[in-house]
């Protein structure tokens, strides 16, 4: 589509799949956006992320050290010796690995059971499901990295971009595999053939996540463009300029909702960008939104 976002007609605006990415902002717009923040993660999400991260670190550090057979092991001998020295003996290390694993599974279950409606379903729907824009993102990103496609022509992305979503899918599948295979080994569920397959699946699941975690950490901690994402995992917030440039679809969705309620305030802040004026028919855009007054009556 050769249309620029500022000239899109209403029909196209309402079709998410055809939504083009952001446009080039003016310096003034950038300044306004950079000084505003948006909530990206709730306290539960931030907590779960760090509990998960610490558990994974401890589990991989000990798990890799437990594999000592020459034909299976992944870490060098000096690492195995070092870990054995830290734990005293490898039996204690195995028990530590199992204990941390149980803690990790219980944390995830807590989140999955009590947070099923508010967190897990939302996570599956928004962060694990790739839409058409996400599928288009992969070839576009390759072109973008080769310098053949500008950032402004990339498909618009939601809360997470397609690369992050794809990794989240790998992590989710691996997590389920680990939650099943871990107890099979720790509590000897099934015959030795079952345990032998469980070991192999446990290894594959761990290594699939381990391969990607370096990219995840590098992107968040060192890569300059994505750095606001790192701080958002502490404060839960990102600045709007980052949201606009990297997660345009998400930014637009949130602004549309805000626009519904705080139009005057946004205008006063000078945040009413042309994009929002395009989306006048807000009721069509947020199909499922229900609005209640203070007495609890639906408007």
């Amino acid at each position: 589509m050769g249309l620029s976002t500022s000239k899109l007609n209403e029909d196209i605006i309402l079709d998410h799949d055809l939504l083009k990415s952001h446009r080039r902002l003016t310096f003034e717009e950038k300044r306004i956006l950079a000084n505003r923040v948006m909530k990206k993660h709730g306290v539960a999400g931030v907590t779960l992320h760090w509990v998960n991260a610490i558990s994974w670190f401890l589990l991989i550090a000990t798990g890799v050290a437990l594999l000592s057979a020459t034909y299976l092991k992944f870490a060098p001998d000096w690492y195995l010796d070092m870990m054995e020295g830290i734990f005293g003996n490898k039996g204690a290390m195995l028990h530590f690995h199992i204990a941390v694993g149980i803690f990790w599974v219980l944390t995830l279950l807590l989140y999955g059971v009590f947070g099923f409606k508010n967190y897990l379903l939302d996570f599956i729907k928004h962060d694990l499901t790739l839409d058409k824009d996400d599928i288009r993102w992969f070839p576009a990103k390759v072109k973008n990295l080769m310098g053949k496609l500008s950032n402004y022509n990339m498909p618009a992305q939601g809360t997470y971009n397609a690369g992050q979503k794809a990794y989240a899918v790998i992590v989710a599948i691996s997590t389920i595999a680990l939650i099943i295979t871990g107890p099979v080994m720790a509590f000897h569920i099934g015959s030795i053939t079952v345990i032998q397959w469980a070991m192999m699946i446990h290894f594959v699941a761990t290594m699939s996540v381990f391969t990607g975690v370096f990219v995840h950490v590098y992107m968040a901690a060192l890569f300059p463009e994505e750095r606001p994402a790192f701080f958002s995992m502490i404060t839960g917030k990102v600045n709007e300029l980052y949201a606009y440039l990297h997660h345009y679809k998400w930014w637009k969705e949130i602004k549309n909702e805000e626009h519904l309620f705080f139009k005057e305030e946004l205008q006063k802040d000078g945040i009413l960008l042309p994009e929002l004026e395009e989306c006048k028919n807000i009721k069509d855009h947020i199909v499922s939104a229900k609005v209640y007054n203070l007495e609890g009556e639906q408007l």
Binding site: K30, L72, K90, Y218
Partner: protein, 242 residues
């Protein structure tokens, strides 16, 4: 250092199973498993040329033990005195050592789901006693001792021509020797030849395909990030936000 071994004198053995019972009671080995066995073979030949042979067996504490190599966690290891033992705290009961053992000397104990096998009664010999099976043998058919000591009875018997249960395909240096003067041992060897150590499908996939694959994948992502970070260092950090 010592190197413990056992000689089974087949001429002396009367197939009474006392060794098996002593072992079972000492270690609470559940039926139908055993650490130590007397397998009675069917009688062979026609009267009066008839013979009945028993295969007295236990862990061979092999010099090049396939079970030690197979154990993923290092729970099975060889002590400096040559005894192959299992660290029950570290064993996960995966059974890879069972598939690797040429002599069928290992089993998963259903009481604790961990692997168990003969350890030459390591708790007894450290207190100067003989293994339970040796102490109980009424015929003195089991002789236990140190092969590194040339004056020990096992050393002398091995020098006098005691044989190991090995084949052309499988010879991992077993330390159980058999003495016999009635041509009984070939019958045992024919009936219970050492099995070729077996690696199950998931583990052979792991070592041949998956491990190299993940080394490549992790190496690849590291190289990619190294390049990206190097580019970032060359470019330097910009003063203006976006």
């Amino acid at each position: 250092m010592s190197k413990y071994a056992m000689v089974i004198d087949m001429d002396r053995c009367v197939s009474c199973h006392a060794c098996e019972v002593a072992c079972r009671s000492h270690y609470d080995v559940p039926v139908p498993y055993y650490r130590n066995w007397v397998h009675q073979l069917r009688p062979e030949g026609v009267y009066p040329d008839i013979k009945k042979v028993s295969y007295v067996g236990l862990c061979n504490h092999c010099d090049d033990a396939p079970c030690v190599k197979a154990c993923p966690t290092g729970a099975t290891y060889k002590r400096e005195d040559g005894i192959v033992v299992v660290d029950k705290n570290l064993c996960i009961g995966c059974g890879l050592c069972i598939d690797a053992c040429p002599y069928g000397a290992r089993y998963i104990n259903p009481d604790n789901e961990k692997v168990d096998k003969c350890d030459f009664c390591v708790d007894r010999i450290t207190h100067g006693e003989e293994p339970a099976c040796v102490a109980t043998c009424i015929a003195g058919a089991r002789i236990f001792g140190d092969l590194d000591d040339p004056k020990s009875s096992v050393s002398k018997l091995v020098a006098s021509g005691a044989e190991q249960n090995v084949s052309d395909e499988v010879n991992v240096g077993p330390n159980i020797y058999y003495l016999d003067s009635h041509n009984d041992f070939p019958v045992v060897k024919a009936a219970f030849p050492p099995k070729v150590p077996h690696t199950p499908t998931p583990q052979s996939m792991w070592s041949k395909v998956l491990r190299p694959l993940f080394w490549l994948a992790i190496g690849g992502t590291f190289l990619g990030q190294f390049a990206a970070f190097a580019a970032q260092l060359i470019k330097g950090e910009s003063e203006v936000k976006e």
